[in-house]
Amino acid sequence: MDRLKALLFLTSVIILLCLPAFSQTDAPTRLVGDAKPAIESPAGPPSVEAKDTKNDDGSAIDVSWQLSPDDQRLVTKYQVLRSKSSTGPFEVAGETTKGQHTYTDNGVKVGESYFYKIAAVYEIKSTDSTSVTGKGESQVIGPIKPIAQWFNMRRLNVLIWLLVTCAAILFYIMQAKSGKELYVRKIAGIDAVDDAIGRATEMGRKVFFVPGIQDMDDVATIAAITILGRVARICATNETMLDVPVSRSLVMVTARESVREAYGKVGRPDAFKEDQVHYVTDDQFGYAAAIDGMVMRDKPAAMFYMGGFFAEALILAETGNNAGAIQIAGTNQPAQIPFFVAACDYTLIGEELFAASAYLEREPRLLGSLKGQDFAKGLFLLAIFLLLILAMFGYNWVSIMDVS
């Protein structure tokens, strides 16, 4: 009896120890060393389509496919296989994760024909960094030839708006040249330029002109240089010291020429000194720190901030305010406009910066372009209003404003 009990006990223990061997799952597990069991291959995508990508330079083909029936169960990724012949050899053009059914192949050359097939891949990675894959491939489709288009139709709406804006600008320029008086509303910030420089002249202190931290490829910097020319002319006439610290070397070169010409125009080329326009540093906060130091030491009576500014805007404006200077600012960065409004005496908001040159010069062609710009803005407002009304009645034509 005792022996039987002992035998039963031993048998139970052995069975219990062997139980885990019977509880294997089908989930992918890490393989050790060379153990590579036979792997199930997912079914290939049932259909594939490939066509030339529209509105491009002929370097792309759009490939789309129906998901493999095993997409959820087995597929780990899809491979887009490309070849120049229907029989191969095929190379991997790209991969997507499961669930995705489109791919844009940007590795093709214009005018050459290509064949495609899609492989649904089931991959198991082993601990020694090798992997075992099962693949199910679709049929081969092709040939498809990528073609370069001569016009990007997705940008047709931009072209139309651009032509309308340009036509308006040119029309009003012609009107202005023909002698018609064009009304431009008062811009307080620009009117204050002369007064600000006059104040500096009376106090015998400097005028600082800060043209922003952007380079010459930014239109705001060019607009700033235009205003600098005007400021330099007034300073030259009044014999007021003008200091222009700049953040970019190309801006230094351009600003120097502009100031030199301005001094020459009013008959004071001898008063111009090259070091009036000087480079400080490209670094944003280094530039702000340098200007702050100059302002606190020199205590200018007037400061102009014109151009592209970022986080340093408020640092500069507050320091100028502490120094007691009258400050006029204008920037094309919407995020910085509130800071300038809070800290400066006058702020040119948005396109007023670009209107400044026309406003100051009062030249007919420049005023005409201002009117044209306003006309285009009026058209935009009308379009927004009409589309809003249409959208309220369920007609969603917002896509005509879409750009890509």
């Binding site: 600008i169 340093e312 919407p334 372009s369």
Partner: protein, 223 residues
């Protein structure tokens, strides 16, 4: 010709850039890349102009013993320190196998960057916090209707964007809570204003660019 040549170059480059935006076909698709490469190369060489101008000005200040000559001396010392540190690390790194860069961690250049430049930059940025407070103290005053509206907007956004707003108004229905008001102000009035300013700036940019391309605007060339 001194004025005409820049105008011709501006016109050709401007038109080319406009065309490449609409025409994807070769060779127009190459314009943007080519011009941006040229701009980068010209800009890189132009840095020397700026650096030499800065050094010249500083040396002049030092020689004349003008009022801020110690600052000019500091600029020259800092400039040389970082250039020499980078050069030494660069040459040393070239001798390593594989070659390392002067910017790699552990180099003198990296030490100067991490321990000197980064704290200085961060300090300047941190000054904004104080300046925002003093600007707010001065600017947000109920002088007129518009200023009062600005004042209340600032109040709601400032208090609604921090947890204190929810802490104080958590007992109210969700639509009455301060964070809801702050989000509404950011999502609607602010967005509307930002869009309006952006449209205006875009149109101003188009107009100014057209004037520059056509040579109507020449003040940046001739003062």
């Amino acid at each position: 010709m001194k004025r005409e040549i820049p105008l011709i170059i501006t016109f050709v480059a401007g038109v080319a850039f406009v065309l490449q935006y609409f025409i994807p076909h070769y060779p127009f698709n190459r314009f943007e890349n080519i011009f941006s490469d040229w701009f980068s190369i010209v800009g890189a060489f132009a840095i020397w102009l700026g650096a030499l101008s800065l050094m010249k000005l500083c040396l002049l200040n030092i020689s004349k013993k003008s009022s801020d000559w110690p600052i000019s001396l500091l600029i020259i010392v800092s400039f040389l320190a970082i250039v020499i540190a980078g050069a030494i690390d660069g040459f040393h790194g070239l001798n390593n196998v594989p070659a390392t860069s002067f910017r790699d961690p552990g180099t003198n250049f990296d030490w100067l960057y991490q321990k000197v430049y980064t704290p200085l930059s961060s300090t300047m940025f941190a000054i904004l916090a104080f300046f925002v407070a003093s600007a707010s103290y001065r600017a947000f005053r109920a002088r007129n209707t518009a200023a009062t509206l600005l004042l209340f907007s600032a109040f709601f956004v400032m208090i609604g964007r921090v947890p204190v707003g929810d802490y104080l108004s958590g007992w109210l229905p969700e639509r009455m809570q301060l964070s809801h008001w702050a989000n509404w102000l950011m999502a609607f009035p602010n967005t509307a204003g930002q869009r309006a300013v952006m449209i205006g700036i875009a149109l101003g940019t188009v107009s100014t660019s057209l004037r520059i391309i056509l040579g109507i605007e020449r003040s940046h060339l001739e003062g």
